[in-house]
Amino acid sequence: MRRATAIVVLVLALAAAAVPAAQAQDRPGRAWQSLTPEERWRAWENYQRYQQMPEQRQRMLERRHEQFRALPPQERDRLRQNYDTYRGFDPGQRRQFIEKYHRWKGRK
């Protein structure tokens, strides 16, 4: 009985761990046709930036994209909000944040 319970718990845990990844795989991204002209232009600009990156960095970004898609919606929203804040920084604030980031990364 105890063994059966342990197996059930294990199966449930594995299923719970597999769900986000599977959802990320299954969740269709937005189609190109559904983007607004402004969004298309922004995607095109970023595509050109991506094309200029070394292949290793491109692969890293693709891995991050998969990770990002696998995140819970709240976490994705948090990152987007943080990005909006970061984007709103003036040059001085941004430079200070990057300096803090270097410092924080060194301590980590």
Partner: protein
């Protein structure tokens, strides 16, 4: 444009977040100013390396602070010896790059000594092929800020059509490390003296 303004815009340019008009102005300045081109390349490589670097070995706050103090003293000595360097004499980023490089070298050295990092970390250029000379890798090969000159094609390239989200979210993906730990980074202190006494826990991850 003066170097001072160019320096202010570089971080945004590296993140791909500079507005088109400013980017063109910055590009114009970079085309004529070798010092700023070098600065941009250093900033770019440093941020790229930091984002990609797994920090496998903890460095104690005491050791870090001692290293930072020594590097800053050395940088101050150097600045005193060369007083007529214009914006370079007060702009903090180059000195900061030196400090960061010192911390990185220290951390990577410790990590490699403990055997936790399996391969050498190419801080200078992650794309450098094995055996490629370092001097060549140091050369800024790609004008990062020159994009979107080409018009939007009627049919997008296959990769773009397949996964437009990847490219829509590219700035977030590039800055993902910063954004995940945004709050912890914001609360990090920049003083020479650590915010916590030596030996205490570093800032949390999140």
């Amino acid at each position: 444009m003066r170097c001072q303004r160019a320096q202010q815009w570089m971080a945004a340019a590296v993140d791909g977040e500079l507005a088109s008009r400013r980017r063109r102005a910055l590009d114009g300045h970079l085309a004529a100013c070798a010092a700023c081109r070098r600065e941009l390349a250093v900033t770019d490589r440093m941020l790229g390396a930091l984002e990609a670097l797994p920090m496998e070995a903890p460095v104690s706050a005491g050791l870090e602070q001692a290293t930072l103090r020594r590097v800053r003293l050395a940088a101050a000595d150097e600045a005193e010896r060369a007083p007529g360097n214009g914006w370079r004499s007060w702009f903090p980023l180059p000195a900061f790059a030196v400090v960061t490089a010192a911390v990185l070298v220290l951390a990577v050295g410790i990590a490699r000594r403990t055997g936790e990092v399996p391969a050498p970390v190419a801080v200078g250029s992650p794309s450098r092929a094995p055996g490629q000379p370092m001097a060549e890798a140091r050369t800024p090969a790609r004008p990062k800020t020159r994009v979107a000159e080409a018009p939007l094609p009627p049919e997008p390239p296959a990769k773009l059509a397949q996964a437009p989200d990847l490219f829509m979210d590219l700035p977030i993906l590039r800055n993902m490390d910063k954004l995940r730990h945004f709050e912890a980074i914001e609360t990090t202190t920049l003083d020479d003296e650590p915010g916590t006494p030596d030996g205490q826990e570093p800032p949390s991850n999140g």
